[in-house]
Symmetry: C2
Subunit: 201 residues, 2 copies
């Protein structure tokens, strides 16, 4: 609540809302006026939810998905198939795949993709931890579910070369996802079909 | 921060974001992940801005626009033309007209429009306060800038009948605004032209 003195609370809210992805000036204004007209309790619930998500959400120490308890929901779920690990770039990709209902194994979130332009190599990603999880022979398949774009394909190719020598089956999501597209925005049916038709590398 | 125990902070944030106007499930998720990835300080600034706008913004006792000081920015501005009052339904309509730069007078926010279906008559709006402002003969023109829809026209017609006997010129925003549309979403040029070409009732 500090640092606010000039009384232009509405403009400040418009500025903050305008920083959010997909929120232009008109959307920001519509949301700001909605909040002004809403019950104080509704506005407080939103503010609390924003603060809480930052306070309570951390990275799962096993798979690096977002977690609110010690481990993430997937790693905590004993009904999951521990035979396969689906490797994704970001936690949001876990959500996208979970929504398809087509996959019941575990995940591993790399925290990015290999991108020489941005000076991101395997060392900057959670690759070492992935290899650690593959060391005990319980995993039979690794599904490489990075985005079907240049960096995603590069990352998948790299991981495939590292993991196949371990005697573990390595698969890639089926084409059917539009190349150059973004996994996060694929519709459930397309993404589900891509999981079902995943191909060996 | 109370009332939150089950650890599903992310889902709660998605729910709260999904209540905002124009935010569907995909937008909510995009914003939530943006906040998760953002600096804690950025998220806190947004949460603070939401809380502050509720704490600090109240209705101007003169015109019923939103205000953060005693009076709103327009009523506080001694450079405004006090000869004319522009009557609008909601505070957001003040913002829409201010953005055109075509109007330099004062405002009066009714807080709604006459709507028999919703049991809203002149008594439920700030009509009495408007007539009070017109009592001292300093105002020469009242611009009726309610939306060009059924309730807005009804409200304008009612106010015109009440105000004209006071010897004050009553005008209405020019047609040019799409009928049945919403003043808030008009583009600046159209709305500015409509103000310039306002017609006597």
């Amino acid at each position: 609540m500090s640092g606010f003195q000039d009384g232009r609370a509405l403009q400040r809210l418009l500025d903050e809302l305008g920083r959010l992805p997909g929120i232009g000036p008109k959307s920001a204004q519509r949301i700001a006026y909605h909040l002004l007209e809403a019950d104080a309790e509704d506005a407080r619930r939103l503010a609390d939810a924003i603060l809480e998500v930052k306070q309570q959400v951390h990275f799962c120490p096993i798979c690096f998905n977002y977690a609110t308890r010690e481990h993430c929901d997937v790693c905590d779920d004993s009904s999951r198939d521990t035979h396969s690990i689906c490797v994704v770039s970001e936690p949001r990709d876990v959500s996208a795949i979970e929504r398809t209902g087509s996959y019941h194994g575990l995940y591993h979130v790399l925290g990015g993709v290999i991108s020489p332009m941005d000076k991101i190599g395997p060392e900057q990603l959670h690759v070492k931890e992935l290899l650690g999880r593959l060391a005990d022979d319980s995993v039979g398949e690794v599904i490489l579910a990075t985005n079907p774009d240049v960096e995603g394909e590069t990352t998948a190719t790299y991981l495939s070369r590292v993991i196949r020598p371990l005697g573990i089956e390595v698969t890639r999501l089926a084409s059917g996802l539009p190349v150059g597209g973004d996994l996060e925005y694929a519709d459930e049916v397309t993404l589900g079909r891509a999981i079902e038709a995943r191909r060996a590398l």
